[in-house]
Subunit: 357 residues, 2 copies
DNA sequence: CTGAAAGCGCTAACAA
DNA sequence: TTGTTAGCGCTTTCAG
């Protein structure tokens, strides 16, 4: 019978310290410190010898000691409201990779219940002493108060929107999807997103759209924006939203863009239930497009959150390292993966008539 | 236009140190240290005064300094191979909650490509200096080598199986699902799991089953075990597996238990495609049963991974605190959530005849 | 290029 | 109950 068990005991033999290495190499600790960190002012032969010895001894600097000496922990906190949803998970993965590649570690802070007043899971004061910076995943993850508190504090931080919350990259992604649909001939679209308000730049001035749609006539395009609660329960919520949309009077959109593959699944399931065929009767675009999107054969804008979180980390670290020139994340170009869920709309008159449930 | 940006600058004014508090309270640092940590040997009035002052000053102990002094970091590493799959995300959430409740922080280690030879993402030596213990999520997350290396090391650690990998709790969960189906009258079942080998105790001795199924005749029950690669691509893989199962000769199972809701989705999609109605033609049980399972109206064994990871953390911390009595995680009782995806099988002869594709 | 020495902020004996 | 005193292991001037 296989049982999980705790293995290993502390206080085996203590890890070698920098002094052990220094002694073994016949140099001072200062030199070892420079050598192992790759700093200049160490002769090449000395450096090599030290590195060899350090390796042989299995030496690694104590994070605590280094942290105490430098005042920096070389770790950043990542705040998330949910990990049960691939977009967030992917963002965390992206952040982790980016951080580790720079020698930072990621300490995770999970905020169970996102709400308008969501607070940091732990006190900012204690956080200061544990991480060098904060990456907040999801514009809705922290409430207004906490965000403002963060702004006022000395803690370097960055909020990256996810899940269709208004944010530049998110806009970019939505626009990519919309352009694809418009090019297919759709003129009546719906956008399911997770933002608290409207997606800026799309609704306020429909004209903003036509730049990006290669000058198609934006005025002839109808775009409905529907906010989905999320990310927890996004599947169910978008399903409900879709029902409501279909239950209403008037013509129905011929295509729906979802800010996550989960939302798309909600639409997918409900569409199937209503007997709608995708993409014949309805085109559907997802966001992310990994496992779930792939299995659903969803046309999707890919690599959203992982990339964006990684970009966020980049800027954050750049700022930490004192490079104040880059405070904005590197630009991100959304990539459209065309699969089976989008097609040209049926000709007018060919649209089936939907009976109310 | 909303752009994510790095806010906040370091070196505002330094956080108050323990000395500041001691000075303000007119006591020694040792007393402050005891007071803020809730240790005994501090008079009540003194303690209260210190706490008030500490709070007023916004004091929090430096993790680095405390770590250096005690030799313990009060943080544990959590190794995962994927966060894009809810079961893992949930496990991490569970671990985070458990850790934070004990004042520990969770440093995340993401291992991109799970494989037989998967190695720890960072060197064990450096890890020693950053975390007090390691929680490995998923029995397949680390390769044999790394596991053995871990065993030999002084690092306290624990591996908790997920995603249907052979493991006691996983077995418990599968058995719960199977019992439910057997009680409904199913006698020909399939189990989709993620383990590398067979689920122990189920295959080796089918008799093991009847204990748990309230003494139903285990010999009359057929159980096919099918291993699904996972967790990445679990949806697609289980879909494929289901196809293969259905394409084969002979009778088909009347019920399938999946080790994750994603696997169940794969089956769900393919079943729909084949025109099978759930639960009429096929009963389906998922594992986890949260958002995805709920939307699919899946009967499922719930709260699997979060709870189990939390339990794992408990034991790990108990071991760290020197309590060697508890080295096994607290027992976990799987809870079955019965929804719409399971029902009694059709009578023999009523089963439709499946045409090979 | 290398070393000596002074901390970083806290904890843990041990004394008082 | 409280204070004194050594460190914990590293980094970092500043001399050499």
């Amino acid at each position: 019978m296989i049982l999980p068990a705790v293995r290993g005991t502390r206080a085996h033999r203590p890890q070698p310290s920098i002094e052990d290495v220094a002694a073994a190499a016949g140099v001072s600790t200062a030199t070892v410190s420079r050598a192992v960190r790759g700093l200049p002012r160490v002769a090449q032969p000395t450096r090599t010898r030290i590195l060899e010895i350090a390796h042989a001894l299995g030496y690694a600097a104590s994070a605590s000691a280094a942290g105490l000496a430098t005042g920096r922990t070389r770790s950043v906190g990542v705040v998330t409201s949910s990990l049960r949803h691939p977009a967030y998970g992917a963002a965390v993965e992206g952040a982790e990779r980016a951080l580790r590649s720079q020698g930072y570690s990621l300490v995770l802070l999970h905020l169970p219940h996102p709400s308008a007043s969501a607070r940091l899971p732990i006190d900012l004061n204690v956080l200061c002493r544990r991480v060098d910076a904060l990456l907040v995943l999801g514009a809705g993850t922290l409430g207004k108060d906490s965000i403002e508190q963060l702004q006022r504090s000395a803690m370097p931080h960055m909020v990256v929107g996810l899940h269709g919350e208004p944010d530049n990259d998110e806009l970019e992604a939505a626009t990519t999807a919309i352009r694809h649909l418009v090019q297919l001939g759709h003129t009546d679209l719906a956008l399911f997103h997770g933002g608290r308000g409207a997606m800026p730049r799309i609704r306020p001035q429909a004209g903003g759209l036509d730049h990006r749609t290669n000058s198609l006539d934006a005025n002839s395009i109808k775009l409905r924006e529907i906010r989905i609660e999320g990310p927890a329960g996004a599947i169910a919520h978008s399903r409900t939203a879709f029902c409501r949309l279909w239950a209403g009077p008037g013509p129905k959109p011929t295509a729906i863009v979802c800010a996550s593959d989960e939302m798309a699944l909600g639409v997918f399931l409900e569409a199937a239930r209503k007997g709608l065929t995708i993409p014949k009767n309805l085109s559907l675009v997802g966001m992310d497009g990994q496992d779930l999107g792939e299995s659903l054969e969803l046309t999707a804008v890919i690599h959203c959150s992982a990339r964006r979180a990684a970009n966020g980390v980049q800027s954050l670290l750049a700022a930490l390292e004192g490079d104040h020139s880059i405070t904005h994340p590197a630009p991100w170009s959304p990539e459209l993966m065309i699969r089976q869920s989008t097609a040209a709309p049926l000709e007018t008159g060919q649209q089936p008539v939907w009976l109310p449930q």
